[in-house]
C-alpha cells in the first residue's frame, strides 16, 4: 500500500509542517489551517532548539497497584503468610534474584530490566498517608501530601523549565479531562484523547468566519479559562491530527500501546513537548475482590504497552531522549482480605525506564514483619525524592524550586 502524503505536492515535509503548526504559525484561531509554505523556513528554525530536549513520559496507574504482587518478595516467607491464597507462587515468577521476581504477566518489562533499562523503586510513599484514591492521587498530582497546591508537579516543572511560558505545547496530557498534575500557571497543556475527533467540523462557507469570532475581554474566571483553551485548541488540533494520521501508517500493528501510541506519534513528529502525562483509562488496579484475574490482565497490558512504546522509540531513533516514569496513588494492604483481594494501602512500587536509566532495585525494601498503620508497609522513600530525581537528574530543572524543598535524589541515571 502506498502512503499518501498530503503535503508531498508542495515540497513541505510532514515534519516541517508539524513544526510550523507546533509553533503556532499559520493557524487561524479556530484551527483552520492557513497558507503554510511561505512561513516555513522561519518557523522551523525557531522550533529547532525546542525539539532537541529530553522528554519525560509519566504513565499513571490509577487505582492503587498492588506492588507486592508486581515485584514479588517470594524469598520472604512472611509474604506467603500474609497472602496464603493470592500470594504468587515462586514457580510462576520471572525471577530477579533470590529474593524478588516480576509478576509473570510482565515479560515485556522484565526483558527491558534484563537489558539494564528499568529502575525499580520500592517503598515509595509519604508520611500520614491517605487511604482515599482521590485524595492520595491529588497529593501525588500536586506533590503536596496532606496539603495542596493550585498547580500540579508537571505544570510547575514546565514553569521551571520555561519561566516565561514562551513555548507552546510544553505539556501534553492524553486524557478526557485535564489531569491535576499538569495544571500550570503559564502553560496551557494540550489535552486530548482521540486525535481524529480533535477537529472543528466546518462547512466551507463557515471557514472564513470562524477566525473573525474574535476573542474579547473575559467577564470572569470561567470565561477567561474557556478563552485560553479556545486559543490552545486552535494551535494544536491540526498538528495533532496530522501527526496521528502519519503515525498509524508506520507503526507495527501488533503493538498494543494503550494510550502511549499518541505519545509515540507526537514524538515521531518532533513535537516540542517535553512533558507527557498519560493516566491509564479504565484501570483495573483497584483489586478489592478476586484480584488475580484483573491484576494479571492489567499488568500484562501495561507491561506490553511500555515495551512496545520503547520499541517505537527505537524505530524512531529517540530511545536516548525519552524516560518513562510509572506511579500509582498508593500500594495495597499487606494481608489479603476475605474477598481474595486487597484493600487500600500505603507504600508503592515505582518504575523508571529508558536507555538513560541504570537498571536495578532502588529504595529500601519495606519490612513485612514491621507493618504500620494497620497492616501496611512502611514507606522508605518519599515520592518527592523520585520526582526530584526526574526533575533534576533527567530534565535538568531546579527540583527544590518545583517541590518547595530539597529532596535527596536517587542515583538511577547513567552518568
Amino acid at each position: 500500500m502506498t502512503v499518501r502524503n498530503p503535503l508531498s505536492g508542495c515540497g513541505v515535509s510532514r515534519r516541517e509542517m508539524l513544526r510550523i503548526g507546533a509553533s503556532g504559525v499559520g493557524l487561524g484561531l479556530y484551527g483552520g489551517l492557513g497558507p503554510v509554505p511561505f512561513v516555513l523556513a522561519q518557523a522551523s528554525r525557531a522550533s529547532a532548539a525546542a525539539t532537541s530536549g529530553r522528554i519525560l513520559v509519566v504513565f499513571e496507574w490509577f487505582g492503587g497497584n498492588d506492588g507486592l504482587n508486581t515485584i514479588v518478595p517470594y524469598g520472604d516467607p512472611l509474604y506467603y503468610k500474609h497472602r496464603p491464597t493470592i500470594g504468587l507462587k515462586e514457580a510462576d515468577l520471572l525471577k530477579i534474584d533470590a529474593q524478588f521476581g516480576w509478576h509473570k504477566s510482565m515479560r515485556g518489562m522484565k526483558r527491558m530490566y534484563d537489558e539494564g533499562k528499568v529502575a525499580i523503586v520500592q517503598g515509595v510513599g509519604y508520611d500520614q498517608p491517605s487511604f482515599s484514591h482521590f485524595t492520595s492521587m491529588s497529593f501525588m498530582h500536586t506533590a503536596a501530601p496532606n496539603s495542596g497546591n493550585e498547580y500540579g508537579w508537571i505544570g510547575r516543572t514546565a514553569s521551571a523549565m520555561d519561566p516565561a511560558g514562551a513555548r507552546d505545547n510544553m505539556i501534553v496530557n492524553i486524557s478526557d479531562s485535564q489531569t491535576l498534575a499538569v495544571k500550570a500557571q503559564k502553560h496551557v497543556p494540550l489535552v486530548f484523547i482521540d486525535p481524529m475527533r480533535f477537529q472543528r467540523a466546518l462547512f466551507s462557507q463557515e471557514k472564513s468566519v470562524v477566525d473573525a469570532l474574535a476573542a474579547q475581554a473575559p467577564v470572569g474566571d470561567a470565561h477567561r479559562y474557556v478563552l485560553d483553551v479556545t486559543k490552545s485548541a486552535a494551535l494544536a488540533s491540526e498538528v495533532v491530527r496530522a501527526a496521528w494520521g502519519q503515525y498509524q501508517r508506520t507503526a507495527n500493528p501488533d503493538l498494543r500501546l494503550l494510550d502511549l501510541d499518541k505519545v509515540a506519534a507526537l514524538i515521531e513528529a518532533d513535537f516540542p513537548t517535553r512533558l507527557y502525562y498519560v493516566p491509564l483509562r479504565g484501570s483495573l488496579f483497584d483489586t478489592h475482590v478476586n484480584q488475580a484475574s484483573p491484576h494479571d490482565r492489567q499488568l500484562e497490558y501495561c507491561s506490553d504497552a511500555i515495551a512496545g512504546f520503547f520499541q517505537e522509540m527505537q524505530r524512531i531513533g529517540r530511545t536516548d531522549d525519552v524516560v518513562m516514569y510509572v506511579y500509582s496513588e498508593f500500594g495495597r494492604r499487606v494481608p489479603e482480605n476475605t474477598s481474595l483481594g486487597t484493600d487500600h494501602g500505603t507504600a508503592q512500587v515505582n518504575f523508571v525506564i529508558g536507555n538513560a536509566v541504570k537498571g536495578g532495585l532502588y529504595g529500601k525494601t519495606p519490612s513485612l514483619s514491621n507493618l504500620v498503620l494497620g497492616d501496611n508497609l512502611e514507606s522508605t522513600v518519599d515520592f518527592r525524592q523520585v520526582y526530584a530525581t526526574m526533575i533534576d537528574g533527567w530534565l535538568g530543572a531546579d527540583a527544590a524550586h518545583v517541590l518547595g524543598q530539597k529532596f535527596e535524589t536517587l542515583k538511577l541515571f547513567r552518568a
Binding site: 486530548f192 484523547i193 475527533r197 477537529q199 467577564v219 470572569g220 470561567a222 478489592h288 478476586n290 494497620g374
Partner: protein, 587 residues
C-alpha cells in the same frame, strides 16, 4: 424584542450576599439567568412568563413544582431483555463458565454434553447480558434526556442530574439497567426533598449496594468501600473523620445487601456490637450512622457547597459556603428552602454569577434543544454519543467521585467537540448516520466471515483467513471449551434482536419561524434574535459584526422578508457559529 432589558448582572458587591434582591430589580434578563441555572434554560415565552410573574412567584413556581401538571412524563418502556435466570449474574466470564463446568449450567443455560466448545452457549449467554444491559442503558439515557427536555419541572430534573453525579454509580460495573431505572426514580423523587432521607435511600439502593461491594461487607470481615465513600464523597468530605471512623462505619453497614431489586438486611451477617463513631458509642446500624453523619455541621456545609457549585458557579468562598450550610441546617436538610434562598439572592444575580458556570455536557445539549425549540431529543445525532464526545456519559460517570465538573468540562478537544455536536444537531447527517446500537464494531468482521461460511477457527483468526499465520493455524486445530470472541459477537446479535430501536428522527427545528416571529426585519436583527436566544454571556461586537456579514452574504440580501422562504440553512449555520464561541459554553 425592543422592550427587552440588556444583559443585567448585578453589582460586584452583591457577591456572597444571600439577602433577596428587591422586586424592582427583577427583569427578563434575570428571569433568563434564573431559568438557565435552575433548569435547562427556555424559550423567550417561558422566560417572559417568569419575568411577568415577579421574582417570588417565579422562584416559587420553579422550586415548588409538585402541583404543576407534567403530562409528558411516562414510565420507561423496557425491551424485555431481562429474565429471572439472570438473577445473581456472575461477576466475571471465568465465574460464569466455571459455574457451568461445575454445575452443568449457568444463567439458565446448560453446557452441551459433548462436542467441541461445549460451554459456548454459556459463554454466549454471559456476553448477551453484558451487551443487553449496555444497549438498554443507552435507551434509558435517551428516556431520561427526554424527561429533562419535556418536563414542566425543570428543577426536579436538574437536581436529579446533580444527585446522579454526586451519588455516582456506573452501569458499567452494576451491569443491570433495571437497577439504574430504580436509581433515576430515586433521584427524581428525592430531588428537592430531605437530604438525610435521600442519603439513607441511596445507601439502601441496590445499584449502590452492588457498586460499592456491600455484598462483601459482613460481620468479622468488613469491606470499607462504601463506608469510606459515604463520608468522603457523599456527605462530609475528606479530613472530617478518622480511619477508625471508617472501620466502625463499615461495621455498622455489615449485613446490608440486596436481593435482585430489593434491599435486605441479613441479621446473621450484621455486626450488632458496640461501635465508636464520630465520638459517639452505641450498637449503631447503617441508618443510625447516617443520622450521626447528618448531625455534623460540616455535612450541611459540604452538601450546600455541592449544590451551589452545580447550579450557580464554580468559585465559592468559604464564607458563602458557611452561610449556605447554615440555611440547610436551619431547615433540617430540606433542599427547597436552600434553593429558594439561592435563587432569590443578590449573590445569585451578582456579576460573579453571570457567566461563572461552565455548562456540563448533558445540561448543555438539553439546553441547546430547548433553546432551538425542539420537542424531543433527536435520534440523529445520537444523544449518548454526543455527550460522550463532550465528556459525559450519562449513567456511566467515570468513578464514584462523579464528574469533576467546572473547568474540567473544557479541554481543547472537548471544546471542539461541543461545536461539532452543535453542528450535528443543527445540520444532522441523515444519510451518513449509522446506528451504533446495531454495530458490533470490530466484531462485525467476524460475523461477516461466519456468514460467508468460515468456521469459528478461521473466522476468529487474527489475520486474513485466506492467508493464515502459523499462530492462527495452530489455533484452528485447538480443541477449546468455548471461544469468547465468538461470544462477544453472538451476544450482541442476540441482544440487538430484542432491543427496541431508538427512533432516528432529526430535531424538529424551525429557526426561520423563530426569527420571523421575533419581528426581525434585517439580517442584523436576525442575528440579534439568535444571540439573545442562545447566549448568556454577550458576544464581542466584532463577533456580532462578523455574524451579520456572514448571514447577509449567505442570504444574498439584508432583508429578512425577502429571504424568508430560504433562510433556514443560513440561520442554522449562524446558530452553529454562535454555539462555537467560548461564550456559548457558559451560563
Amino acid at each position: 424584542m425592543a422592550n427587552r432589558a440588556g444583559w443585567s448582572p448585578g453589582p460586584a458587591a452583591w457577591k456572597d450576599d444571600l439577602t433577596p434582591i428587591a422586586a424592582a430589580e427583577w427583569n427578563d434578563d434575570r428571569a433568563a439567568h434564573l431559568l438557565m441555572h435552575a433548569g435547562f434554560g427556555g424559550t423567550p415565552a417561558e422566560i417572559d412568563a417568569l419575568a411577568t410573574a415577579g421574582l417570588d412567584a417565579a422562584v416559587h413556581s420553579l422550586v415548588h413544582y409538585e402541583r404543576i401538571p407534567n403530562p409528558r412524563m411516562q414510565p420507561f418502556v423496557e425491551s424485555g431483555l431481562w429474565d429471572p435466570t439472570l438473577k445473581g449474574f456472575p461477576e466475571s466470564r471465568p465465574e460464569a463458565t466455571d459455574r457451568a463446568e461445575r454445575e452443568g449450567a449457568s444463567m439458565g443455560i446448560a453446557a452441551k454434553p459433548s462436542g467441541n466448545r461445549p460451554v459456548q452457549p454459556v459463554s454466549d449467554r454471559f456476553f448477551y447480558w453484558l451487551r443487553a444491559t449496555m444497549l438498554e442503558t443507552r435507551r434509558l439515557g435517551y428516556w431520561w434526556a427526554n424527561r429533562m427536555l419535556q418536563t414542566t419541572h425543570p428543577v426536579e430534573q436538574k437536581m436529579a442530574l446533580l444527585w446522579h453525579g454526586h451519588f455516582a454509580t456506573h452501569e458499567n460495573k452494576v451491569r443491570d439497567y433495571r437497577k439504574m431505572v430504580q436509581q433515576i426514580d430515586l433521584f427524581e423523587r428525592g430531588a428537592t426533598g430531605n437530604l438525610r432521607d435521600l442519603a439513607i435511600k441511596v445507601a439502601q439502593n441496590p445499584a449502590m449496594l452492588y457498586f460499592l461491594d456491600a455484598q462483601y461487607n459482613v460481620k468479622g470481615a468488613p469491606n470499607e468501600n462504601f463506608a469510606r465513600e459515604v463520608m468522603e464523597l457523599f456527605t462530609m468530605g475528606v479530613g472530617n473523620y478518622t480511619e477508625q471512623d471508617v472501620r466502625e462505619c463499615a461495621r455498622a453497614f455489615t449485613g446490608w445487601y440486596f436481593d435482585d431489586l430489593a434491599f435486605k438486611v441479613d441479621p446473621q451477617k450484621h455486626d450488632g456490637g458496640a461501635k465508636t463513631f464520630l465520638g459517639r458509642t452505641g450498637s449503631f446500624d447503617g441508618v443510625e450512622v447516617l443520622k450521626i453523619i447528618f448531625a455534623q455541621p460540616v455535612t450541611a456545609d459540604y452538601l450546600a457547597g455541592k449544590i451551589y457549585r452545580f447550579l450557580v458557579r464554580d468559585e465559592l468562598s468559604p464564607e458563602l459556603q458557611r452561610k449556605l450550610g447554615h440555611v440547610l441546617r436551619e431547615h433540617d436538610y430540606e433542599v427547597k428552602p436552600l434553593l429558594t434562598a439561592i435563587f432569590s439572592s443578590k449573590d445569585f444575580y451578582s456579576q460573579a454569577s453571570y457567566g461563572g458556570h461552565i455548562k456540563g455536557p448533558v445540561e448543555h445539549l438539553v439546553t441547546m434543544l430547548k433553546q432551538l425549540g425542539a420537542d424531543a431529543v433527536p435520534g440523529v445525532p445520537d444523544f449518548n454519543q454526543g455527550t460522550i464526545a463532550m465528556g459525559q456519559h450519562l449513567l456511566n460517570p467515570p468513578s464514584v467521585a462523579g464528574w469533576a465538573g467546572g473547568k474540567a468540562w473544557i479541554t481543547p478537544g472537548l471544546l471542539i467537540a461541543r461545536g461539532n455536536v452543535a453542528r450535528d444537531v443543527l445540520v444532522p447527517d441523515m444519510t451518513g448516520f449509522r446506528d451504533w446500537n446495531f454495530n458490533a464494531g470490530t466484531d462485525n468482521v467476524l460475523g461477516q466471515r461466519l456468514r460467508e461460511g468460515l468456521d469459528v477457527g478461521a473466522a476468529t483468526a487474527v489475520n486474513d483467513p485466506s492467508n493464515l499465520s502459523a499462530f492462527d493455524m495452530s489455533a484452528l486445530e485447538r480443541d477449546e471449551r468455548f471461544n469468547t470472541r465468538i461470544s462477544g459477537y453472538v451476544g450482541w446479535q442476540q441482544a440487538a434482536r430484542k432491543l427496541i430501536p431508538t427512533p432516528r428522527r432529526a430535531a424538529q427545528i424551525d429557526l426561520s419561524a423563530i426569527v420571523f416571529d421575533s419581528g426581525a426585519k434585517t439580517a442584523a436583527e436576525a442575528v440579534d434574535c439568535l444571540l439573545w436566544r442562545l447566549l448568556r454571556v454577550p458576544a464581542a461586537p466584532a463577533t456580532r459584526d462578523a455574524l451579520v456579514a456572514f448571514l447577509t452574504k449567505e442570504l444574498g440580501t439584508d432583508t429578512v422578508d425577502r429571504a424568508k422562504t430560504y433562510m433556514e440553512d443560513a440561520l442554522r449555520l449562524t446558530a452553529h457559529l454562535i454555539m462555537s464561541t467560548p461564550e456559548y459554553q457558559l451560563a
